[in-house]
Structures are given as C-alpha cells and as structure tokens.
Amino acid sequence: MVVSATTDGGQRKIRRNGSFGYVVPALLLIAFFFIIPVLMLLMRSVLEPTPGLQNYRELLGSTTYLRVFMNTFTVAGLVTVVAVVIGFPVAWLLAIMPDKWSRLVMAIIILSMWTNLLARTYAWMVLLQRTGVVNKMLINLGIIDKPLALVNNLVGVTIGMTYIMLPFVILPLIGILKSIDPAVLRAAALCGANKRQCFTRVLLPLSLPGIASGALMVFVMSLGYYVTPALLGGTSNMMLAELVAQFVQSLVNWGMGGAAALVLLVVTLVLYAVQLKFLNPNRAR
C-alpha cells in the first residue's frame, strides 16, 4: 500500500457532500485488515512476554540480530543500486524505441512479472549452482578456474532479487524519460555538451524523480522480501523477513516477531517521508 501511494503522489480529497457513505466499506476494510492488525502487533511487541521495551532492546542490542539488519540493508541497498544501474539504460531504450518494439519488450518484462515467483527463484538456483549454466559458461570461457559460490550466500540473493525488482525500476522510469523532450538534449549538445555531459548534466537530473521513486519502491520491497532470500540465501545469511518468520513460526515468539516487523515498518515510513519531502515527482516537474 505504501508502494502504490508512491506513484500516486497527491492525496485526493472527497468534497462532495453525501458521498462519504460510499467509502465507509473501504475504510472498514482498511481498518480491519491493515490498521487493527498493525496495532495488535505493536501491542504484542511491547506486552509479550511482559510489558516493556525489552523486545526492542534485545533486537537492537544483540550482535546476531544486528547482523540480520546489516544483511537486510546491504542486500536491499545493493539490489536497489544494481537495479537502477541496469534498469536506467533499459528504460531509456524503451522510451526512445518505436512504439511497436517498445510495446513488445514491455510485454516481455510484464510477462516475467506474472510468472510465479517461486518458479523464477528456483530457476536462479539452477542457473547459479556450482554446476549451473553460469559457472559452466565462465569456466568454458576461461574467465575462472573453479566454480564460484553463487548460491546460498548474499551474492545469490542479490542476483535473484535484482532480477525480480528490475521491472519496478524500469516501468516508472519509462514515463519520466518519455516526458523529456529530445530537443532539450539537442540544445545541450549545441551548447557544447558531449554525450557524457548531456547525460550527467541534463538527462540524469531530469530523470531523478523517476529514479528516486523506482529506487524507493525497490528498496522498501527488498527490505521485507522473504521468498528469494530464503531460497537463495542459505541458512547462515538471514534477512529481516526470515527473522520475523522464524520468531513467529519456529519460536512462537510474537513479541520479538512484532518488534522486528515494526522496526521494518518504521524504516519504510521514514524513507517514504524523506522521499515525499525532497523528491516528490509532482513537485519537481
């Protein structure tokens, strides 16, 4: 829900009198399924096993849990950076391609999003394992002697998640890049800017709002991602969502699970607020 609000930007106000009644079911739905559960989780995190902040103290004070936080932020950060670096040129290509071709490529990208997440993650497991296609190819090309460890560590998680997150960078960026008039880049060229300067001084600053909203979306989704880290990361490289799952499923410790989930939520909300303040796409344009 945070994610969809990012692209939406402004708030819509209901002004017409009498129409308020129609939104009551929606409000009740949101209250019952989103607000109340979050509040209950918050309650449990400060009430179980005994009232107080000891869950948070333990979570933020122990090196084991801090490593989980580090893992989570490192992977989310890396995935975000790599997805933007790969996604930007793809989005640019799609923005300047003839419509006929860009629609085809978009369809391929969206089709990949519709493919089952588990299937895609398992596919990466097969590709990245010691005897997998990637290692075999690198060995045959003479780039490496011994197979690289690409799964059951954070490298595998980063690769797998970057692949899954790429469309979330590409899709919002296309819109922004398409709105940039090519004549502006021509003007920059005649002003003396070479290709690199056109990119760093004009194209990049103009697409910053799009990059920011895509990056935020990817970062936030990555922070709470479960399936891919669980399958590609192995047991020793836990991320936050896995920790929450472990607390709740294996240890049946709702207090710690709730505390971990809320830390994640707070981080997300803070990032969202930062983006709204400094990089609101509606204001920058």
């Binding site: 008039d181 502006v184 003007a187 920059a188 003396g192 600053p205």
Partner: protein
C-alpha cells in the same frame, strides 16, 4: 572571388524513398540575416538540422570559413540555436541555463557571472537569474534560450521557427527584439519560418524553399517585385492568378490573350518546366486599378463584394469565366463611390508590372 563566410553546397537528404532535401546550394555573408521561408515539408528545417549536425546529409557539403563542418559533431561546432519548442533545462534557473555553455567550456566563475548578466541584459531579462523556466512566459523562455545561444559568441545562430508557439502580438514584439539583437551583436543568423510577414520583417535576404529546393534567393523587395517562379509569386505577398493564352514570346517578354479577348504585350515571362501555350498571369491586388466605365485593354469583371479594411478597401471581383480577382484600393478611392455589389466594372494594369509563368 572572396571565400564566402558560410557555404552550403549541393545538400541532399533522403530517407529511403522520401526526399527531404533535393538540392540546396546557398552562400551566406558574415553578419547576414538569412531566412529560409517555405511551407512545412519544404526541406528548410532539415537543412537547418544538417547545419546543426543533428542529421548528416546524403550528399553535399557545408563550409564555414572554407572548412567543412560535416565531420565535426554537434557539440564541437560552436553553433548557437534557438528551437521551436521550449528547450530550457527545467531543473536549472535562468542564470544557470545561460551559464551552461560556459560551464561546459570551463570558463572561470567571475567571467561566467559577467557574461551571463551581459547576455540577459541583451535580451532585456536582467534580474531574472534565479527564476526557474517553468515560472516564465513562453516569450521570456525563448528570450532566455536566445541568451543561452549567444552567450558563447557563436559565429552562426540558427533559429528554427522560434516564435511559432507565441501569439501574434508577442511574436511581433520579439521579432523587433531579434532585429535589435542582430544589429547589436552582428551575429550571422539563419532563420527558419513559414510566415512570410515574419521573413519580410526580419531578413536581409530570404531563400524561398519549395519541395526540397530553393526556388529563389533575394531581398524581400526582389522576391516581391520579380518572383522567379509561380510558387514564389504566390507565397510572398498577396496575389491573384488568372489563366492566359501565350500568343508569342521572345526575349523574356510575352504577348498574352486574356479571357474575354483582351490582348496585352510586354509581360515579363518566366518559362517553367511545361513551356506550353497557356500561362498563369500574376496580378498583385494593389497594382490593379478599377473603373466603373469601360477602358481600353481593360478586363471586364463583376463586383462580388466590397470590404472596408481601414487604410484600404478590398474589392473582390469575378471575371467572365468565373476566376476571382481581388483588388486593393486606397481609402477614399473615387471608384468606390460609383460601384456597388453586382455591378459591372473594368480592371486595368500596366503589363510591365505583371508576371507570367508558363
């Protein structure tokens, strides 16, 4: 012969089967204001884009001071350009926009500040340095674009219909500004427009483009008084054309029979591609005189309508075989008092002042 400042030699540009520019050859003197005038699709913008380096010609060459420009990429041509659309960088302020070409050229900070304020003064936008382009009117944005294109003292300034997005009053205001800036800076300007009035107002010389070629190059007066082709005659100024039969022609003069039997002699004749027996006769509305009684060698017409336009009066008439001719008479012309709609009248003109196109 001295070497021309800017020389466009046999430029041709095709996209597959489509010919955008057929053959354009043109010399421009230093400090000249040269306008490319023509309808859309006549190749004038493509020629300008080739000069800017956005497109490579299929054939031909462009020489600036005797050096070919074609192998130089856009960003090294040191040419200024103002575009049809607003191309200010929206993330930069007006001052930063004008400073942009100087920053790229690594000019010192103090000099940048000085030259930016000088350029903004030139376009009469002093004090707008910190404004963002989005908060300015279209006319102001184009003036900033002009300052940005001139701040690095380019030898040539290209302008691609820079005023077409503005309303008429603003357009005239900025045309005046462009003239003043041209006089103050002495920069060579190549200006593209489809608006003949704009071309006449601004230019030293006009190149009239039609179907990928230049039909005629000359001052506005030359083009108006001596159009080389039917197209130029129709494009510059108001014009009437009537069909005539060529009786004989020699030394560029022709003897023509007009519908209704009137024969005129000594009409300047421009032989076209057809060179046939029939010709199109150009009659400028202000060169026709109107009389309510029959005159020798006059053309009999019926008055269709009389429109009062302030300083002059437009009379629309129709010949016997249905061709319409408009006549412009000065305010207070004696003939007006004695004619009214539906009347018979006679038009007369000096054969030397007309042109026939075969």
């Amino acid at each position: 012969m001295t070497q021309p400042f800017l020389s466009i030699k046999g430029i041709r540009k095709t996209y597959g089967q489509v010919i955008a520019v057929k053959n354009v050859t043109l010399d421009v003197a230093q400090g000249e204001f040269m306008t490319f005038l023509g309808p859309s699709g006549s190749g004038k913008s493509t020629t300008l884009y080739i000069l800017a380096g956005f497109q490579d010609p299929t054939d031909g060459d462009i020489l600036l001071n005797g050096q070919s420009l074609l192998s130089t990429p856009s960003h090294k041509r040191n040419i200024g350009m103002v575009f049809q659309r607003y191309t200010l960088f929206p993330h930069l302020t007006v001052g930063e926009n004008v400073a942009f070409p100087l920053r790229i050229r690594r000019v010192g900070q103090a000099e940048i500040a000085e030259r930016v304020s000088k350029a903004l003064k030139l376009v009469r936008l002093e004090g707008f340095e910190d404004r963002k382009p989005a908060l300015m009117s279209g006319g102001q944005q184009q003036r900033v674009a002009l300052a940005r294109a001139l701040v690095y003292n380019p030898p040539v300034l290209l302008m691609d219909e820079p005023l077409s997005a503005l309303d008429k009053k603003l357009r005239e205001e900025i045309q005046f500004e462009i003239r003043r800036i041209h006089q103050e800076t002495g920069v060579t300007i190549l200006y593209v427009t489809h608006d003949q009035e704009e071309a006449l107002r601004l230019s030293d010389r006009i190149a009239v483009f039609s179907q990928g070629e230049i039909d005629q190059i000359g001052t506005g007066q030359e083009l108006y008084a001596n159009p080389a082709t039917h197209f130029v005659a129709g494009f510059i100024g108001d014009s009437n054309f009537i069909n005539a039969e060529v009786l004989s022609s020699a030394d560029g003069k022709a003897k023509l029979a007009l519908p209704g039997g009137t024969v005129i002699d000594g009409v300047p004749m421009h032989a076209g591609k057809t060179g046939g027996k029939s010709a199109s006769l150009l009659l400028r509305p202000e060169r026709l005189s109107l009389s309510s009684h029959q005159v020798a060698n006059g053309l009999a017409v019926t008055i269709n309508d009389i429109t009062f336009l302030g300083n002059n009066i437009e009379v629309s008439t129709r010949t016997g075989n249905g061709e319409s001719l408009s006549v412009r008479l000065p305010f207070g012309h004696e003939a007006i008092a004695s004619i009214s709609r539906g009347d018979q009248a006679w038009l007369s003109f000096e054969p030397k002042s007309t042109h026939a196109f075969a």
